[in-house]
Protein backbone atom coordinates (compact mmCIF):
# COMPACT_ATOMS: atom_id res chain seq x y z
CA UNK A 1 0.00 0.00 0.00
CA UNK A 2 1.57 3.30 -1.09
CA UNK A 3 1.98 5.42 2.01
CA UNK A 4 0.49 8.66 0.70
CA UNK A 5 0.70 11.84 2.75
CA UNK A 6 -2.79 11.24 4.10
CA UNK A 7 -1.75 7.97 5.60
CA UNK A 8 1.35 9.56 7.09
CA UNK A 9 -0.83 12.17 8.76
CA UNK A 10 -3.20 9.44 9.97
CA UNK A 11 -0.23 7.61 11.47
CA UNK A 12 1.62 10.61 12.81
CA UNK A 13 -1.50 11.88 14.54
CA UNK A 14 -1.54 8.53 16.27
CA UNK A 15 -5.06 7.85 15.12
CA UNK A 16 -5.94 4.45 16.52
CA UNK A 17 -8.12 2.37 14.29
CA UNK A 18 -11.25 3.17 16.21
CA UNK A 19 -10.97 6.85 15.16
CA UNK A 20 -11.11 5.81 11.50
CA UNK A 21 -14.57 5.44 9.97
CA UNK A 22 -15.21 1.95 8.60
CA UNK A 23 -17.80 2.29 5.83
CA UNK A 24 -18.97 -0.52 3.56
CA UNK A 25 -19.84 0.97 0.15
CA UNK A 26 -22.11 -1.56 -1.54
CA UNK A 27 -23.35 -4.14 -2.39
CA UNK A 28 -26.45 -1.98 -2.32
CA UNK A 29 -24.94 1.38 -3.35
CA UNK A 30 -26.14 3.68 -6.12
CA UNK A 31 -22.90 3.82 -8.06
CA UNK A 32 -21.11 0.50 -7.87
CA UNK A 33 -22.34 -0.61 -11.30
CA UNK A 34 -23.87 -3.76 -9.87
CA UNK A 35 -23.64 -5.71 -6.63
CA UNK A 36 -20.01 -4.86 -5.80
CA UNK A 37 -18.88 -3.98 -2.30
CA UNK A 38 -15.89 -2.04 -1.05
CA UNK A 39 -14.97 -2.02 2.64
CA UNK A 40 -13.50 1.42 3.01
CA UNK A 41 -11.53 2.76 5.99
CA UNK A 42 -11.91 6.53 6.13
CA UNK A 43 -9.83 9.16 7.91
CA UNK A 44 -12.33 12.00 7.63
CA UNK A 45 -13.14 11.83 3.89
CA UNK A 46 -9.78 10.40 2.84
CA UNK A 47 -9.48 6.71 2.02
CA UNK A 48 -6.89 4.90 4.13
CA UNK A 49 -7.68 1.32 3.14
CA UNK A 50 -10.05 -0.29 0.58
CA UNK A 51 -10.81 -4.01 0.24
CA UNK A 52 -13.13 -5.09 -2.59
CA UNK A 53 -15.61 -7.90 -1.86
CA UNK A 54 -16.95 -10.04 -4.71
CA UNK A 55 -19.31 -12.94 -5.12
CA UNK A 56 -22.75 -11.37 -4.80
CA UNK A 57 -23.61 -12.25 -8.42
CA UNK A 58 -21.63 -15.54 -8.57
CA UNK A 59 -23.65 -18.29 -10.29
CA UNK A 60 -20.68 -20.45 -11.35
CA UNK A 61 -21.05 -19.93 -15.10
CA UNK A 62 -18.09 -22.28 -15.71
CA UNK A 63 -19.72 -25.25 -13.93
CA UNK A 64 -22.94 -24.74 -15.91
CA UNK A 65 -20.95 -24.64 -19.17
CA UNK A 66 -19.20 -27.91 -18.24
CA UNK A 67 -22.60 -29.62 -18.08
CA UNK A 68 -23.94 -28.15 -21.35
CA UNK A 69 -22.85 -28.87 -24.91
CA UNK A 70 -20.65 -26.40 -26.83
CA UNK A 71 -23.67 -25.02 -28.71
CA UNK A 72 -25.87 -24.44 -25.67
CA UNK A 73 -23.03 -22.65 -23.85
CA UNK A 74 -23.37 -19.74 -26.31
CA UNK A 75 -26.55 -18.20 -24.78
CA UNK A 76 -24.78 -18.22 -21.41
CA UNK A 77 -21.89 -16.15 -22.78
CA UNK A 78 -24.45 -13.37 -23.53
CA UNK A 79 -25.01 -13.14 -19.81
CA UNK A 80 -21.35 -12.73 -18.83
CA UNK A 81 -20.91 -9.03 -19.64
CA UNK A 82 -24.56 -8.34 -20.22
CA UNK A 83 -23.90 -5.01 -21.95
CA UNK A 84 -21.78 -6.36 -24.81
CA UNK A 85 -23.13 -9.81 -25.61
CA UNK A 86 -21.86 -9.81 -29.23
CA UNK A 87 -18.20 -9.56 -28.19
CA UNK A 88 -18.67 -12.26 -25.56
CA UNK A 89 -20.11 -14.55 -28.25
CA UNK A 90 -17.19 -13.76 -30.53
CA UNK A 91 -14.56 -14.54 -27.87
CA UNK A 92 -16.16 -17.92 -27.07
CA UNK A 93 -16.74 -18.85 -30.70
CA UNK A 94 -13.18 -17.82 -31.62
CA UNK A 95 -11.68 -20.13 -29.00
CA UNK A 96 -13.95 -23.04 -30.05
CA UNK A 97 -12.86 -22.48 -33.66
CA UNK A 98 -9.25 -22.59 -32.47
CA UNK A 99 -10.01 -25.77 -30.48
CA UNK A 100 -11.78 -27.56 -33.33
CA UNK A 101 -10.03 -25.88 -36.26
CA UNK A 102 -13.13 -24.51 -38.04
CA UNK A 103 -12.76 -21.95 -40.84
CA UNK A 104 -14.99 -18.87 -41.09
CA UNK A 105 -16.27 -17.50 -44.42
CA UNK A 106 -15.57 -13.92 -45.50
CA UNK A 107 -19.01 -12.41 -45.00
CA UNK A 108 -19.26 -13.84 -41.46
CA UNK A 109 -15.93 -12.20 -40.59
CA UNK A 110 -17.29 -8.84 -41.79
CA UNK A 111 -20.51 -9.30 -39.77
CA UNK A 112 -18.43 -10.12 -36.68
CA UNK A 113 -16.34 -6.98 -37.05
CA UNK A 114 -19.47 -4.85 -37.61
CA UNK A 115 -21.33 -6.21 -34.59
CA UNK A 116 -18.24 -6.04 -32.35
CA UNK A 117 -17.49 -2.41 -33.27
CA UNK A 118 -21.16 -1.43 -32.81
CA UNK A 119 -20.99 -3.02 -29.36
CA UNK A 120 -17.80 -1.08 -28.58
CA UNK A 121 -19.50 2.16 -29.64
CA UNK A 122 -22.43 1.96 -27.29
CA UNK A 123 -20.40 0.40 -24.47
CA UNK A 124 -18.00 3.36 -24.44
CA UNK A 125 -20.93 5.81 -24.80
CA UNK A 126 -22.67 4.19 -21.83
CA UNK A 127 -19.42 4.29 -19.84
CA UNK A 128 -19.10 8.03 -20.41
CA UNK A 129 -22.74 8.40 -19.33
CA UNK A 130 -22.29 6.31 -16.15
CA UNK A 131 -19.05 8.14 -15.29
CA UNK A 132 -20.80 11.52 -15.50
CA UNK A 133 -23.70 10.12 -13.50
CA UNK A 134 -21.23 9.17 -10.78
CA UNK A 135 -19.84 12.70 -10.91
CA UNK A 136 -23.29 14.07 -10.25
CA UNK A 137 -24.55 15.22 -13.66
CA UNK A 138 -28.14 14.13 -13.13
CA UNK A 139 -28.53 11.70 -16.02
CA UNK A 140 -28.24 14.14 -18.96
CA UNK A 141 -25.12 12.61 -20.58
CA UNK A 142 -26.45 9.17 -19.69
CA UNK A 143 -29.75 9.83 -21.45
CA UNK A 144 -27.97 11.06 -24.59
CA UNK A 145 -25.76 7.95 -24.56
CA UNK A 146 -28.75 5.67 -24.03
CA UNK A 147 -30.64 7.35 -26.87
CA UNK A 148 -27.86 6.31 -29.26
CA UNK A 149 -27.61 2.89 -27.64
CA UNK A 150 -31.31 2.25 -28.30
CA UNK A 151 -30.77 2.72 -32.03
CA UNK A 152 -27.95 0.17 -32.09
CA UNK A 153 -29.99 -2.25 -29.97
CA UNK A 154 -32.82 -1.99 -32.47
CA UNK A 155 -30.32 -3.00 -35.15
CA UNK A 156 -29.31 -6.01 -33.05
CA UNK A 157 -32.95 -6.92 -32.43
CA UNK A 158 -33.79 -6.94 -36.12
CA UNK A 159 -30.63 -9.00 -36.82
CA UNK A 160 -30.56 -11.52 -33.96
CA UNK A 161 -34.02 -11.37 -32.40
CA UNK A 162 -33.08 -10.00 -28.99
CA UNK A 163 -31.72 -6.55 -28.04
CA UNK A 164 -29.21 -7.58 -25.39
CA UNK A 165 -29.09 -11.40 -25.35
CA UNK A 166 -28.14 -11.82 -29.00
CA UNK A 167 -26.95 -15.48 -29.07
CA UNK A 168 -26.00 -14.82 -32.68
CA UNK A 169 -22.53 -16.14 -33.51
CA UNK A 170 -21.93 -19.85 -34.18
CA UNK A 171 -18.72 -21.92 -34.69
CA UNK A 172 -17.70 -21.09 -38.23
CA UNK A 173 -20.01 -18.10 -38.83
CA UNK A 174 -23.31 -16.62 -37.76
CA UNK A 175 -26.77 -17.98 -37.04
CA UNK A 176 -28.70 -16.09 -39.74
CA UNK A 177 -27.92 -13.62 -42.51
CA UNK A 178 -28.50 -9.87 -42.44
CA UNK A 179 -32.17 -9.04 -43.15
CA UNK A 180 -32.42 -6.92 -46.30
CA UNK A 181 -32.23 -3.19 -45.63
CA UNK A 182 -30.22 -3.83 -42.46
CA UNK A 183 -27.00 -2.47 -43.94
CA UNK A 184 -28.69 0.77 -45.04
CA UNK A 185 -30.27 1.12 -41.59
CA UNK A 186 -26.89 0.48 -39.93
CA UNK A 187 -25.26 3.13 -42.14
CA UNK A 188 -28.00 5.55 -41.04
CA UNK A 189 -27.39 4.86 -37.36
CA UNK A 190 -23.67 5.29 -37.89
CA UNK A 191 -24.13 8.59 -39.68
CA UNK A 192 -26.07 9.87 -36.63
CA UNK A 193 -23.33 8.74 -34.26
CA UNK A 194 -20.61 11.29 -35.08
CA UNK A 195 -22.94 14.29 -34.51
CA UNK A 196 -23.87 12.65 -31.20
CA UNK A 197 -20.16 12.46 -30.35
CA UNK A 198 -19.69 16.12 -31.26
CA UNK A 199 -22.66 16.99 -29.05
CA UNK A 200 -21.14 14.91 -26.25
CA UNK A 201 -17.82 16.65 -26.59
CA UNK A 202 -19.48 20.05 -26.65
CA UNK A 203 -21.33 19.16 -23.47
CA UNK A 204 -18.38 17.76 -21.57
CA UNK A 205 -14.91 18.10 -22.96
CA UNK A 206 -14.08 21.60 -21.79
CA UNK A 207 -16.28 21.37 -18.71
CA UNK A 208 -14.14 22.80 -15.93
CA UNK A 209 -15.86 20.74 -13.26
CA UNK A 210 -15.26 17.53 -15.18
CA UNK A 211 -11.57 18.42 -15.59
CA UNK A 212 -11.22 19.44 -11.98
CA UNK A 213 -12.88 16.25 -10.75
CA UNK A 214 -10.92 13.89 -12.98
CA UNK A 215 -7.46 15.37 -13.54
CA UNK A 216 -4.84 13.67 -11.42
CA UNK A 217 -7.41 11.38 -9.80
CA UNK A 218 -6.80 7.64 -9.67
CA UNK A 219 -3.43 7.70 -11.43
CA UNK A 220 -2.33 4.27 -12.67
CA UNK A 221 1.43 4.13 -13.34
CA UNK A 222 2.55 2.31 -16.48
CA UNK A 223 4.55 -0.50 -14.85
CA UNK A 224 1.86 -1.27 -12.26
CA UNK A 225 -0.72 -1.44 -15.07
CA UNK A 226 1.30 -4.01 -17.02
CA UNK A 227 2.24 -6.06 -13.98
CA UNK A 228 -1.32 -6.13 -12.65
CA UNK A 229 -2.63 -7.34 -16.00
CA UNK A 230 -4.90 -4.31 -16.57
CA UNK A 231 -6.10 -4.42 -20.19
CA UNK A 232 -8.30 -2.38 -22.48
CA UNK A 233 -8.76 1.42 -22.44
CA UNK A 234 -7.53 1.54 -18.81
CA UNK A 235 -4.13 0.23 -19.90
CA UNK A 236 -3.90 2.43 -23.01
CA UNK A 237 -4.73 5.48 -20.88
CA UNK A 238 -1.51 4.81 -18.99
CA UNK A 239 0.42 4.97 -22.23
CA UNK A 240 0.97 1.25 -22.93
CA UNK A 241 0.38 0.49 -26.62
CA UNK A 242 -1.33 -2.94 -26.34
CA UNK A 243 -4.53 -3.63 -28.29
CA UNK A 244 -5.32 -7.30 -28.88
CA UNK A 245 -6.77 -6.38 -32.29
CA UNK A 246 -3.32 -5.12 -33.31
CA UNK A 247 -1.35 -7.86 -31.50
CA UNK A 248 -3.26 -11.02 -32.36
CA UNK A 249 -4.54 -9.87 -35.78
CA UNK A 250 -7.65 -12.02 -35.22
CA UNK A 251 -10.66 -11.82 -37.53
CA UNK A 252 -10.00 -9.43 -40.44
CA UNK A 253 -8.91 -6.38 -38.42
CA UNK A 254 -5.79 -6.10 -40.59
CA UNK A 255 -7.89 -4.74 -43.46
CA UNK A 256 -9.01 -1.75 -41.40
CA UNK A 257 -6.36 0.98 -40.96
CA UNK A 258 -7.52 2.20 -37.51
CA UNK A 259 -5.32 3.88 -34.91
CA UNK A 260 -5.00 3.18 -31.18
CA UNK A 261 -5.29 6.30 -28.95
CA UNK A 262 -2.88 6.39 -26.01
CA UNK A 263 -3.01 8.58 -22.90
CA UNK A 264 -0.08 9.85 -20.82
CA UNK A 265 -1.13 10.40 -17.24
CA UNK A 266 -3.33 7.34 -16.71
CA UNK A 267 -5.87 9.23 -14.59
CA UNK A 268 -9.67 9.26 -14.82
CA UNK A 269 -9.68 12.00 -17.46
CA UNK A 270 -7.32 10.00 -19.70
CA UNK A 271 -9.42 6.85 -19.34
CA UNK A 272 -12.49 8.89 -20.30
CA UNK A 273 -10.84 10.64 -23.25
CA UNK A 274 -9.21 7.44 -24.59
CA UNK A 275 -12.67 5.87 -24.79
CA UNK A 276 -14.13 8.87 -26.61
CA UNK A 277 -11.26 8.74 -29.15
CA UNK A 278 -11.66 4.99 -29.50
CA UNK A 279 -15.28 5.55 -30.47
CA UNK A 280 -14.12 7.75 -33.31
CA UNK A 281 -11.80 4.99 -34.52
CA UNK A 282 -14.58 2.43 -34.33
CA UNK A 283 -16.74 4.69 -36.49
CA UNK A 284 -13.99 4.64 -39.16
CA UNK A 285 -13.81 0.83 -39.02
CA UNK A 286 -17.58 0.54 -39.29
CA UNK A 287 -17.74 2.95 -42.23
CA UNK A 288 -15.29 0.84 -44.19
CA UNK A 289 -16.79 -2.51 -43.11
CA UNK A 290 -20.34 -1.49 -44.06
CA UNK A 291 -19.08 -0.45 -47.50
CA UNK A 292 -16.92 -3.48 -48.17
CA UNK A 293 -19.21 -6.33 -47.01
CA UNK A 294 -19.95 -8.64 -49.96
CA UNK A 295 -22.75 -11.21 -50.33
CA UNK A 296 -21.74 -14.81 -49.66
CA UNK A 297 -22.30 -17.71 -47.28
CA UNK A 298 -22.38 -16.81 -43.59
CA UNK A 299 -21.58 -20.35 -42.35
CA UNK A 300 -20.24 -23.32 -44.26
CA UNK A 301 -23.27 -25.62 -44.60
CA UNK A 302 -21.66 -28.79 -43.28
CA UNK A 303 -20.46 -27.08 -40.04
CA UNK A 304 -21.51 -29.38 -37.21
CA UNK A 305 -23.39 -27.37 -34.57
CA UNK A 306 -25.36 -29.84 -32.58
CA UNK A 307 -23.03 -32.53 -31.31
CA UNK A 308 -19.66 -30.90 -31.90
CA UNK A 309 -16.96 -33.13 -30.40
CA UNK A 310 -13.56 -31.44 -30.81
CA UNK A 311 -10.48 -33.71 -30.49
CA UNK A 312 -8.92 -33.90 -27.00
CA UNK A 313 -6.73 -30.82 -26.48
CA UNK A 314 -6.96 -27.25 -25.26
CA UNK A 315 -7.12 -23.75 -26.76
CA UNK A 316 -6.99 -20.18 -25.44
CA UNK A 317 -8.73 -17.63 -27.66
CA UNK A 318 -8.96 -13.94 -26.79
CA UNK A 319 -10.38 -10.75 -28.28
CA UNK A 320 -10.22 -7.03 -27.49
CA UNK A 321 -13.54 -6.58 -25.74
CA UNK A 322 -14.75 -3.07 -24.88
CA UNK A 323 -13.67 -3.65 -21.27
CA UNK A 324 -10.35 -5.32 -21.97
CA UNK A 325 -8.91 -8.66 -23.10
CA UNK A 326 -11.74 -11.20 -22.90
CA UNK A 327 -10.42 -14.73 -23.25
CA UNK A 328 -11.88 -18.25 -23.20
CA UNK A 329 -9.66 -21.20 -22.26
CA UNK A 330 -11.29 -24.50 -23.28
CA UNK A 331 -9.99 -27.99 -22.53
CA UNK A 332 -11.73 -30.76 -24.48
CA UNK A 333 -11.53 -34.47 -23.73
CA UNK A 334 -13.28 -35.46 -26.98
CA UNK A 335 -16.74 -35.51 -25.38
CA UNK A 336 -19.74 -33.35 -26.35
CA UNK A 337 -19.27 -31.10 -23.28
CA UNK A 338 -16.09 -29.11 -22.55
CA UNK A 339 -13.87 -30.64 -19.85
CA UNK A 340 -12.83 -27.22 -18.55
CA UNK A 341 -14.44 -23.91 -19.57
CA UNK A 342 -12.57 -20.88 -18.27
CA UNK A 343 -13.40 -17.19 -18.84
CA UNK A 344 -10.70 -14.56 -18.46
CA UNK A 345 -12.78 -11.69 -16.99
CA UNK A 346 -11.21 -8.30 -17.86
CA UNK A 347 -13.45 -6.48 -15.35
CA UNK A 348 -12.27 -8.59 -12.39
CA UNK A 349 -8.58 -8.32 -13.26
CA UNK A 350 -8.81 -4.58 -13.90
CA UNK A 351 -10.04 -4.26 -10.31
CA UNK A 352 -6.74 -5.61 -8.92
CA UNK A 353 -5.34 -2.08 -8.81
CA UNK A 354 -8.50 -0.38 -7.50
CA UNK A 355 -7.02 0.02 -4.03
CA UNK A 356 -3.73 1.39 -5.33
CA UNK A 357 -5.61 4.02 -7.34
CA UNK A 358 -7.98 5.03 -4.52
CA UNK A 359 -5.62 5.36 -1.54
CA UNK A 360 -5.33 8.97 -0.50
CA UNK A 361 -8.40 10.17 -2.40
CA UNK A 362 -11.83 11.07 -0.99
CA UNK A 363 -15.11 9.17 -1.19
CA UNK A 364 -16.35 11.10 -4.19
CA UNK A 365 -13.14 10.15 -6.03
CA UNK A 366 -13.47 6.44 -5.24
CA UNK A 367 -16.87 6.46 -6.94
CA UNK A 368 -15.40 8.06 -10.07
CA UNK A 369 -12.30 5.83 -10.16
CA UNK A 370 -14.55 2.78 -9.95
CA UNK A 371 -16.67 4.26 -12.72
CA UNK A 372 -13.64 4.85 -14.92
CA UNK A 373 -12.51 1.23 -14.53
CA UNK A 374 -15.83 0.22 -16.20
CA UNK A 375 -16.80 -3.07 -14.58
CA UNK A 376 -19.89 -5.19 -15.12
CA UNK A 377 -20.65 -7.52 -12.24
CA UNK A 378 -21.92 -10.32 -14.49
CA UNK A 379 -18.36 -10.67 -15.77
CA UNK A 380 -16.63 -10.01 -12.45
CA UNK A 381 -18.47 -12.70 -10.49
CA UNK A 382 -19.37 -15.07 -13.39
Amino acid sequence: MIATPEIQTARTRGIANHELLEVSMGPHHPSTHGVFRMNVLLDGEVIVKLTPVFGYLHRNHEKIAEKNSYLSAIPYTDRLDYICSMTNNWAYVLSVEKLAGIAVPERAEYIRVITAELTRLFNHACLAGFLLQDMGALGTPLMYAFREREKILDLFESLTGSRMMCNYLRFGGCRCDLPDGWLKQAAGVLAAFSPFLDQFEALLDENEILHARSEGVGVLPRELAINAGVTGPGLRASGVNYDVRKVDHYGIYDRFPFRVPLGEHGDVLDRYMVRILEMRESIKILDQALREIAPGPIIDPKAKLRNLRPKAGEAYGRIEGPKGELGFYLISDGGPTPYRFRVRPPSLINLTVLEDMCIGHSISDVVIILGSVDIVLGEVDR
Binding site: G55, L224, Y242, V353
Partner: protein
Protein backbone atom coordinates in the same frame (compact mmCIF):
# COMPACT_ATOMS: atom_id res chain seq x y z
CA UNK B 1 9.14 -15.09 -30.68
CA UNK B 2 11.30 -18.00 -29.61
CA UNK B 3 9.87 -21.51 -30.01
CA UNK B 4 8.99 -23.55 -26.97
CA UNK B 5 12.13 -25.67 -27.07
CA UNK B 6 14.38 -22.61 -27.21
CA UNK B 7 12.57 -21.10 -24.24
CA UNK B 8 12.86 -24.28 -22.16
CA UNK B 9 16.56 -24.67 -22.96
CA UNK B 10 17.07 -21.01 -22.06
CA UNK B 11 15.33 -21.53 -18.73
CA UNK B 12 17.31 -24.71 -17.97
CA UNK B 13 20.51 -22.84 -18.76
CA UNK B 14 19.61 -19.92 -16.52
CA UNK B 15 18.18 -21.83 -13.57
CA UNK B 16 20.10 -24.94 -12.47
CA UNK B 17 18.03 -27.97 -11.52
CA UNK B 18 14.81 -26.72 -13.16
CA UNK B 19 12.86 -29.76 -14.41
CA UNK B 20 10.81 -28.72 -17.45
CA UNK B 21 8.74 -30.95 -19.72
CA UNK B 22 6.76 -29.86 -22.71
CA UNK B 23 3.13 -31.00 -22.64
CA UNK B 24 1.86 -31.49 -26.24
CA UNK B 25 -1.53 -30.13 -27.32
CA UNK B 26 -3.36 -32.22 -29.90
CA UNK B 27 -5.91 -29.57 -30.92
CA UNK B 28 -5.33 -27.52 -34.13
CA UNK B 29 -4.50 -24.51 -31.97
CA UNK B 30 -1.16 -26.23 -31.31
CA UNK B 31 -0.56 -24.30 -28.10
CA UNK B 32 1.85 -26.68 -26.35
CA UNK B 33 2.75 -25.88 -22.74
CA UNK B 34 5.66 -26.27 -20.31
CA UNK B 35 5.19 -28.30 -17.13
CA UNK B 36 7.55 -26.82 -14.53
CA UNK B 37 8.39 -28.18 -11.10
CA UNK B 38 7.03 -26.43 -8.04
CA UNK B 39 10.34 -25.80 -6.27
CA UNK B 40 11.79 -23.53 -8.95
CA UNK B 41 8.47 -22.12 -10.17
CA UNK B 42 8.92 -18.60 -8.78
CA UNK B 43 12.54 -18.36 -9.98
CA UNK B 44 11.49 -19.45 -13.46
CA UNK B 45 8.64 -16.94 -13.42
CA UNK B 46 10.93 -14.10 -12.33
CA UNK B 47 13.43 -15.13 -15.03
CA UNK B 48 10.72 -15.19 -17.71
CA UNK B 49 9.63 -11.70 -16.73
CA UNK B 50 13.05 -10.10 -16.39
CA UNK B 51 15.01 -11.81 -19.18
CA UNK B 52 15.95 -9.35 -21.95
CA UNK B 53 15.15 -11.90 -24.64
CA UNK B 54 11.76 -13.06 -23.35
CA UNK B 55 10.21 -10.22 -21.23
CA UNK B 56 6.93 -12.04 -20.48
CA UNK B 57 5.69 -9.14 -18.39
CA UNK B 58 1.96 -9.91 -18.58
CA UNK B 59 0.26 -12.96 -17.04
CA UNK B 60 -3.03 -12.84 -18.88
CA UNK B 61 -4.92 -15.83 -17.53
CA UNK B 62 -4.56 -18.25 -14.58
CA UNK B 63 -6.82 -21.30 -14.67
CA UNK B 64 -7.40 -24.13 -12.23
CA UNK B 65 -8.03 -27.60 -13.67
CA UNK B 66 -9.10 -30.65 -11.72
CA UNK B 67 -7.77 -34.01 -12.98
CA UNK B 68 -9.46 -36.65 -10.78
CA UNK B 69 -8.44 -40.30 -10.78
CA UNK B 70 -9.38 -42.05 -13.99
CA UNK B 71 -9.17 -45.74 -14.80
CA UNK B 72 -7.70 -45.96 -18.25
CA UNK B 73 -7.44 -49.14 -20.36
CA UNK B 74 -3.86 -49.24 -21.60
CA UNK B 75 -2.55 -51.78 -24.13
CA UNK B 76 0.51 -53.29 -22.60
CA UNK B 77 2.68 -56.10 -23.92
CA UNK B 78 3.03 -58.83 -21.37
CA UNK B 79 4.71 -62.16 -21.77
CA UNK B 80 2.18 -64.88 -21.39
CA UNK B 81 2.72 -68.57 -21.63
CA UNK B 82 0.02 -69.77 -23.98
CA UNK B 83 -0.11 -73.48 -24.59
CA UNK B 84 3.60 -73.81 -23.63
CA UNK B 85 4.87 -71.09 -26.01
CA UNK B 86 6.20 -67.71 -24.68
CA UNK B 87 4.54 -64.99 -26.75
CA UNK B 88 4.19 -61.22 -26.66
CA UNK B 89 0.50 -60.63 -26.12
CA UNK B 90 -1.29 -57.27 -26.16
CA UNK B 91 -4.06 -56.91 -23.64
CA UNK B 92 -5.94 -54.14 -21.89
CA UNK B 93 -4.87 -53.47 -18.36
CA UNK B 94 -6.81 -51.20 -15.97
CA UNK B 95 -4.46 -48.41 -14.95
CA UNK B 96 -5.20 -45.52 -12.65
CA UNK B 97 -3.81 -42.22 -13.88
CA UNK B 98 -2.29 -40.04 -11.14
CA UNK B 99 -4.85 -37.52 -9.77
CA UNK B 100 -3.71 -33.92 -9.23
CA UNK B 101 -4.89 -30.29 -9.36
CA UNK B 102 -3.28 -28.03 -11.92
CA UNK B 103 -2.79 -24.26 -12.35
CA UNK B 104 -2.26 -23.11 -15.95
CA UNK B 105 -0.64 -19.72 -16.57
CA UNK B 106 -0.96 -17.97 -19.97
CA UNK B 107 1.87 -15.47 -20.33
CA UNK B 108 2.21 -12.74 -22.96
CA UNK B 109 4.79 -10.07 -23.57
CA UNK B 110 3.32 -6.60 -23.91
CA UNK B 111 6.69 -5.12 -24.84
CA UNK B 112 7.49 -7.63 -27.59
CA UNK B 113 3.95 -8.71 -28.49
CA UNK B 114 4.96 -12.33 -27.93
CA UNK B 115 2.29 -15.08 -28.22
CA UNK B 116 0.96 -17.23 -25.36
CA UNK B 117 3.62 -19.09 -23.38
CA UNK B 118 1.67 -21.60 -21.26
CA UNK B 119 3.09 -22.79 -17.91
CA UNK B 120 1.55 -25.66 -15.95
CA UNK B 121 2.05 -26.24 -12.21
CA UNK B 122 0.77 -29.54 -10.77
CA UNK B 123 0.09 -30.39 -7.14
CA UNK B 124 1.12 -33.62 -5.41
CA UNK B 125 -2.38 -35.01 -5.11
CA UNK B 126 -5.94 -33.75 -4.72
CA UNK B 127 -6.25 -34.11 -0.96
CA UNK B 128 -3.51 -33.15 1.48
CA UNK B 129 -0.68 -32.03 -0.86
CA UNK B 130 -2.81 -29.52 -2.82
CA UNK B 131 -0.21 -26.74 -2.45
CA UNK B 132 1.44 -24.65 -5.17
CA UNK B 133 3.88 -21.71 -5.06
CA UNK B 134 2.02 -18.45 -5.75
CA UNK B 135 3.30 -16.34 -8.68
CA UNK B 136 1.56 -13.15 -7.44
CA UNK B 137 4.87 -11.66 -6.19
CA UNK B 138 6.08 -11.90 -9.82
CA UNK B 139 2.86 -10.87 -11.66
CA UNK B 140 0.24 -9.03 -9.62
CA UNK B 141 -2.47 -9.97 -12.14
CA UNK B 142 -2.47 -13.50 -10.67
CA UNK B 143 -3.72 -12.18 -7.29
CA UNK B 144 -7.47 -12.50 -7.78
CA UNK B 145 -7.23 -15.47 -10.17
CA UNK B 146 -5.15 -17.50 -7.71
CA UNK B 147 -7.63 -16.61 -4.97
CA UNK B 148 -10.37 -17.94 -7.25
CA UNK B 149 -8.50 -21.23 -7.76
CA UNK B 150 -8.07 -21.46 -3.99
CA UNK B 151 -11.79 -20.80 -3.55
CA UNK B 152 -13.21 -23.09 -6.27
CA UNK B 153 -10.53 -25.84 -6.43
CA UNK B 154 -8.92 -25.89 -2.99
CA UNK B 155 -5.30 -25.28 -4.09
CA UNK B 156 -3.50 -23.28 -1.36
CA UNK B 157 -0.89 -20.90 -2.81
CA UNK B 158 2.17 -20.24 -0.62
CA UNK B 159 3.43 -16.67 -0.68
CA UNK B 160 0.09 -15.24 -1.81
CA UNK B 161 -0.29 -11.85 -0.08
CA UNK B 162 -4.01 -12.23 0.76
CA UNK B 163 -5.32 -15.80 0.28
CA UNK B 164 -9.05 -15.69 1.05
CA UNK B 165 -12.17 -16.96 -0.67
CA UNK B 166 -13.07 -14.57 -3.45
CA UNK B 167 -16.45 -15.69 -4.80
CA UNK B 168 -18.02 -17.97 -2.20
CA UNK B 169 -18.81 -16.60 1.27
CA UNK B 170 -16.32 -17.43 3.99
CA UNK B 171 -18.48 -19.99 5.77
CA UNK B 172 -18.53 -22.26 2.69
CA UNK B 173 -16.41 -25.41 3.12
CA UNK B 174 -16.40 -27.35 -0.15
CA UNK B 175 -14.78 -26.48 -3.50
CA UNK B 176 -17.53 -26.25 -6.14
CA UNK B 177 -15.46 -26.54 -9.32
CA UNK B 178 -14.04 -29.94 -8.47
CA UNK B 179 -15.37 -32.77 -10.63
CA UNK B 180 -16.55 -34.76 -7.61
CA UNK B 181 -18.47 -31.83 -6.03
CA UNK B 182 -21.98 -32.74 -4.84
CA UNK B 183 -24.10 -29.59 -4.50
CA UNK B 184 -25.52 -29.41 -1.02
CA UNK B 185 -29.31 -29.06 -0.69
CA UNK B 186 -30.46 -25.49 -1.21
CA UNK B 187 -31.31 -24.52 2.41
CA UNK B 188 -27.99 -25.20 4.08
CA UNK B 189 -26.00 -23.01 1.72
CA UNK B 190 -27.85 -19.83 2.68
CA UNK B 191 -25.22 -17.75 4.57
Amino acid sequence: MLSLEQISTRICAAIAGARIETVPNASPSAQASLLIDNEHAREIAAFLRDDRELQFDYASNVTGVDWPEKTVKVKTKTKKVIDGVEKEVEELVEQKTPAFLEAVYHLYSMVRGGGPLILRLRTGNRTDHAVLPSLTPVWRSCEFQEREIYDLFGVTFEGHPDLRRILMWDGFEDHPMRKDYQPVAEEETKP
